[in-house]
């Protein structure tokens, strides 16, 4: 397979996120080495790879939380320098503010001066309704299950209506049944809002369930191995032939079966 497909100047207009030759090293590891790819407006893009392939670093770079050592990230054609309300982030361990209620967490971004909302109360109610947490408005995070916490995390990120949603293994800590339900809900939300989503996971089935396109990464150094389009109708059945084929293709990209234990694939 070839390296990633897109060079930055092609299709500039439909590109929402452009990652250009991004490299980033931590003390002893090369987290990202010359990574380039792009995500189109409204696309659901999953990034799959083994632990240590720099997929979280990549997400943080797009969010503006980490600066690349070299290369650049463009969002809507403008280089990313800092975090901004145009890019919402959902964290693996939820990162909810424990001293705020569900309502207070969802409302957090709306209270920032940079954000304008005509009726913030209504907006918060609408979002809590969207993620199915009616009746839990006044609960503190400690009273919620993992799945519910992540619903709050998603509602909080959506509140400021970001154009891009960055999700870092958001369902890694919830049980399988809850995860399936959250997948369906996330796809519903995405269908309603039309956001551009970059979703990092190490679960191949999760990627095939959700994505328009899967970016497969390799570790040490973190590079893009290939990108695979998933042209399947939604909702997708894990047992369907096409689904299994796509998953197998990604699995093959990630490495030979003998090598598969390197990848934390729970499928």
């Amino acid at each position: 397979m070839a390296m990633s497909e897109i060079s930055a100047t092609d299709q500039e207009s439909s590109e929402k996120i452009t990652i250009r030759n991004v490299s980033k090293a931590y003390e002893s590891t090369q987290a990202l080495e010359d990574v380039s790819f792009s995500v189109s407006e409204g696309e659901f893009c999953c990034v799959v790879g083994p632990s240590g392939c720099g997929k979280t670093t990549l997400l943080r770079t797009i969010a503006g939380l980490d600066d690349p050592d070299s290369g650049s990230v463009l969002v809507g054609g403008d280089p990313v320098t800092d975090p901004g309300l145009d890019r919402g982030m959902v964290f693996q361990e939820y990162a909810l503010f424990p001293w705020r209620t569900v309502r207070g967490n969802v409302r957090f971004g709306l209270d920032r001066p940079a954000c304008e909302c005509a009726d913030c109360e209504a907006r918060v109610r609408e979002l809590i309704d969207l993620v199915g947490l009616d009746g839990f408005e006044d609960a503190y995070p400690k009273e919620l299950s993992g799945g519910m916490k992540q619903r709050v995390g998603i509602a909080r990120a959506l509140a400021v209506d970001p154009e891009i949603l960055l999700m870092d293994e958001p369902f890694g800590s919830v049980d399988a049944r809850t995860r399936d339900r959250l997948h369906a809900e996330l796809l519903d939300i995405w269908a309603q809002t039309g956001q551009t989503i970059v979703f990092v996971t190490h679960d191949i089935d999760e990627a095939v369930t959700l994505a328009d396109r899967v970016v497969v990464m390799d570790a040490d150094p973190g590079t893009v191995q290939s990108t695979i389009s998933i042209g399947l109708e939604r909702p997708r059945e894990r047992t369907a032939h096409d689904f299994v084929d796509h998953a197998a293709k990604i699995r093959a990209e990630l490495g030979s079966p003998a090598d598969a234990s390197r990848y934390h694939d729970f499928s």
């Binding site: 309300l85 990162a95 424990p98 001293w99 209620t101 920032r112 503190y140 400021v160």
Partner: protein, 280 residues
């Protein structure tokens, strides 16, 4: 304080009404046993002032409220006639409360600033390390030469004691703020450092800050009594004053009074803490 924590964890182990009753009965048993030993010890000890008995001490305690004493309110200068026990407690509080509040505010302020600002931390850390080990009572000499040993001097010593405990509470609290929470806040539009401190660091450090303050309530009672042994007016001074006249039962009565005052403040603050930290 550790005693209180123990009972808290016991509550969880032996949950339920029956367990509670058992626990209170045991506590009552312990108290009665102590009173008995105390009473017997006082009976056999001669001369009697060496160990004043529980009955004498209780008498002395009630006497504190049967007589009255006039005290001068600092700053306003007006005279106030109160039952003796209340009057002495008030005198202590005249330097305890300002010392505690001012020391806590300054300590929390500096702790937050140093925990949040790395450059300031670099500048001040060695200084803090050097000054911290000095026991607050060692500052008595400066309290005397700077302020004289009256309310201001005693307040200063309490200030020093409150300062360090609260400093470390706030410092540790801010240092422990998770980077995930500050990252989340950044992606939600928190840009200025001061907003981050207010919206994330402060609430996140609140449990540490409040624990620091609660600890300082107790520590400052020890310090304030120490300061008063050098001559500042109040319950601590009365303990030594009474003993100078060999009225040891009165000393014990004042010791009770301190214990009672501390317990009230501690319980009161715990209630505040519980409601402020309901999210924990």
């Amino acid at each position: 304080m550790s005693h209180q924590t123990d009972t808290d964890s016991n509550t969880m182990v032996t949950a339920g009404f029956e367990g509670d009753v058992k626990r209170y009965l045991r506590g009552l048993g312990g108290l009665l046993a102590f009173l008995l030993v105390w009473w017997a010890g006082a009976m056999v000890t001669q001369p009697s002032y060496l160990v004043p008995g529980p009955v004498d001490s209780a008498h002395a305690f009630f006497d504190l409220f049967a007589t009255s004493t006039a005290i001068v309110v600092p700053i306003f200068g007006s005279e106030l006639v109160l039952p003796t026990g209340v009057a002495r407690l008030a005198e202590t509080l005249f330097h305890y409360v300002p010392g505690l509040l001012l020391g806590a505010s300054c300590g929390i302020g500096l702790g937050l600033a140093m925990g949040w600002n790395g450059v300031l931390d670099d500048w001040l850390r060695p200084l803090v390390r050097a000054l911290r080990p000095i026991p607050p009572l060692a500052w008595v000499v400066f309290a005397i030469v700077w302020f004289g040993i009256h309310h201001t001097g005693a307040a200063f010593i309490v200030f020093v004691g409150a300062f360090w405990i609260n400093f470390y509470g706030a410092y540790g609290g801010v240092e422990g703020v998770s980077s995930e929470l500050t990252d989340a806040a950044s992606t939600l539009g928190v840009e200025r450092d001061l907003s981050m401190l207010k919206l994330v660091a402060l609430p996140s450090a609140a449990p540490h800050v409040l624990t620091g303050f609660r600890t300082s309530i107790g520590r400052c009672w020890m310090i304030v009594v120490g300061a008063e042994l050098f001559g500042a007016p109040g319950v601590g001074y009365e303990i030594i004053n009474a003993s100078n006249n060999l009225a040891m039962a009165t000393s014990v009565a004042y010791m009770f009074l301190i214990s009672l005052a501390f317990l009230c403040m501690d319980v009161g603050f715990r209630l505040v803490e519980r409601s402020v930290l309901a999210w924990r």
